[in-house]
Point group: C2
Chain length 123, copies 2
Amino acid sequence: MENVKNISESEWKVLEVLWDKPGSLIGEIRTALAGSGWSYSTIKTLVLRLTQKGALYTKETPQGKEYYPAVDEDKSRRDETKHFLDRIYNGSVRMLFSNLVKDSKLSDKEAEELMGLIDKMED
Amino acid sequence: MENVKNISESEWKVLEVLWDKPGSLIGEIRTALAGSGWSYSTIKTLVLRLTQKGALYTKETPQGKEYYPAVDEDKSRRDETKHFLDRIYNGSVRMLFSNLVKDSKLSDKEAEELMGLIDKMED
DNA sequence: AAATCAGGGTTACAGGTGTAAACTATAGAT
DNA sequence: ATCTATAGTTTACACCTGTAACCCTGATTT
């Protein structure tokens, strides 16, 4: 369960399937990704690459290979989030929020409250 | 000022320079990016690509070309944010936050307050 | 004038990513 | 026994991205 870097956007979608249902067979992955528009080949490539990256592993069973995520969902999300924040908001949750709040329907007072909590959160 | 897609991570850093000081000359961009470790060539490539993507434009002056961002900083940030949220949190600010809060030092009560505001925000 | 340097244009090149076909083995369907 | 659908392995290929060199020109230095 270590830090595997550089999971691409498409690969991420495959991982999501496995986070949702670890131990899926390839057929189940296919079904889950039916809406993606990807061909079977494409899905297999993504699975292959994730395996090569160490982001998933398989277990042999009589039914075929079961696929398991080798990275933690929450941790992966947090890593991505940190990277995103650094990249776009210079690491500041506050900046992110002052941006998000603009589009929202919070009152000024609520927005202020929110920002206060975020400041506290960021320490 | 339209939606220019696919600004890469490196290109973004160049844009940041221009958002900060629109109309910079190439030398100023270089100086601003001195800490990046990029060679002059690299910086010019990034500028070139941004130009090709329509994300910046130039104005000729006796001093040389001035470089201007052609995309709005806040809007670009919001676009990136939306993309990120969709990709990682299924579009939900709430999920993002319930994740962020975990690492924070907010009390349970504060966290709850925060989540309440976010729910209101998301509508 | 010759050498040097910043600016501008063109070209390069490897690794990552999206997207998939080709081929092979196998197991269930007929 | 044969055909066909599914799984698995290998290979492909174009575009994006990070990173940069090469070459030309005009300005500045010596």
